[in-house]
């Protein structure tokens, strides 16, 4: 429906080209072409089942593990298709980090949770590793809260802290693109606010792509918004424009709360 829409004067971090996904023959995403601007927050919105999570999970190939999935089209990163034959998944996921709906810290200490990635990917040890962990925790705005209890289990933290731990865990791997799949939907309002502030902050340095079903949230935190419906990209543009002056009636209906 909407051809590849890029915005002028904005560097593109990642781009999907005619991306289609189906599960056991049932289409979930239909020929979506979309460019994600670098160093900005992009929100993907739409009614449930519209394919926004599917799209997000395609960006670091998390859909590969689902049985019966079929993916066609391209996802371009650094000028290469990540669905090309000989792509190194480890490397892809080092560049494209992901946070999930439900906080999922590993059942190990806070330090270990964050240290796991850099240790494996970069072979860091000792002092260097500690610095990377501290840095990641600082960036995730968690350092001050946990600096004295790094050995405590990650599961002992509150929900919001767990989610920030997951963000720190992702940041420690040094990605450039952050995928967030409804990162606040399992959290209370105060935690949500903290994470939202964090996303805004991260958007200055990273390319952040957030899936959310909360329209206000999308409006608050994102620079760009894509609206999906029935697996198709309906509307795409700067957030203010999408919300205040949508070009298509479906978008308007959705944003005015007529369905979804």
């Amino acid at each position: 429906m909407v051809a590849a829409m890029t915005l002028p004067k904005q560097k593109v971090a990642m781009e999907t080209v005619e991306l289609s996904v189906s599960y056991n023959g049932k289409p979930a995403l239909k020929r979506v072409s979309l460019a994600f601007p670098a160093n900005a927050v992009t929100a993907l919105i739409g009614p449930s089942g519209c394919g926004k999570s599917t799209l997000l999970r395609c960006l670091n190939r998390m859909n590969d593990r689902i049985p019966g999935v079929e993916i066609t089209g391209k996802v371009m990163l650094n000028g290469e298709d990540i669905y090309a034959r000989r792509v190194n998944l480890t490397r892809l996921r080092r560049e494209v980090g992901m946070v999930f709906q439900k906080p999922n810290p590993f059942p190990m200490s806070i330090f270990e949770n964050v240290a796991l990635g850099p240790r494996l990917h970069y072979g860091l040890r000792g002092r260097a590793l500690q610095e990377v962990v501290e840095d990641a925790l600082r960036k995730a705005a968690l350092w001050d809260e946990v600096k004295d209890e790094l050995h405590k289990s990650g599961l002992a933290l509150s929900g919001g802290q767990q989610q920030r731990l997951c963000i720190a865990r992702m940041l420690a791997v040094q990605p450039r693109i952050l995928l967030m799949d409804e990162p606040c939907s399992a959290l209370d309002p105060i935690s949500t606010q903290k994470i939202e502030e964090l996303i805004v902050e991260l958007g200055k340095q990273y390319t952040v792509i957030v899936v959310t079903h909360n329209l206000q949230q999308a409006a608050r935190i994102s620079h760009y918004t894509g609206f999906l419906m029935y697996g198709e990209l309906v509307e795409w543009g700067e957030t203010r424009q999408v919300f205040e002056n949508p070009t298509r009636p479906e978008t308007e209906d959705y944003i005015r709360g007529r369905f979804g």
Binding site: N39, N88, T90, G123, D135, Q174, R176
Partner: protein, 308 residues
Amino acid sequence: MMNAVQSGSVRTGEWESLAARQDARRARKNALLTSAFGAVGLATVLLVLGLVAAIAYHGAPTLSWEFLTQPPREGMSAGGVGPMILGSILLMVGAFLMATPLGVFGGVCLAEYGERSRLMRLMHASVAALAGTPPIVYGLFGLAIFVLKFKLGVSLLAGWLTLTLFCVPSIVLTTEAALKTVPAALIDGGLALGLSRWQTLWRIALPYALPGILTGIILSLGRAVGEATPVLFTASIYYTTAETTLGWETLRQPVANLPYYLAEGYRQPGVVPERLIWGACLTLILLTLLLNAGAILIRSRTRRRYLW
């Protein structure tokens, strides 16, 4: 493309080269380990197939209608294993009839009252422990209580009771597990219709859990029919000339059965020819496989039925 973000003491440009150093090693290790896991999986399958094939290869020439129906002749050195098959089936059927109600209702009891009181928690733990108790211990218990204290003697009846005890704990556990998989929505739906708690259980939960329960019963019987130890002291006889009839007196007589035939056949080397032993092995495996096939059939049929 360089990472835009500075982190710790590692300089911005260094990340790529650090990672490159790890990647090859990690990929190698991953390939090695995953193929090792796969190889072990494959080896397990080959092991099973090899075992079954070897036994079939050695046992198949012996298998004949005569072997399956005739009693042993010429001092066990010829003839068939008819009475042993009959005895094994008799033992299994009796155990099935006695263990099923006890096991299923016991499972219901655990599922319904499982976590309520200390007594029930104790019972749950005890049943779990009994399910892992060695069959030889059941054999001892059966000998002490059924054969000697109840004065049943070494008999089919004592064997039934012992096998029942052996089967019940595992049936209880599978029943309880199957009942736990019943979605709470179904139960709530039943209760909302105004059914009593026991009606809900009987008409909604049990039918839903039935395939799981049946599978559990069949597998436990399969284990019981191949297990020589519980009936070793309680019901077994190597060979008897007494005709196994379906009359009452059979209950008080020991019965020949396949596992014991094999065990004794080993103990008195040279009496039973290898040929017959392989044949009996194959027969016993076929018997348990038949039961297993039943379990698999039930499972696959009901899986289709409940796929909504």
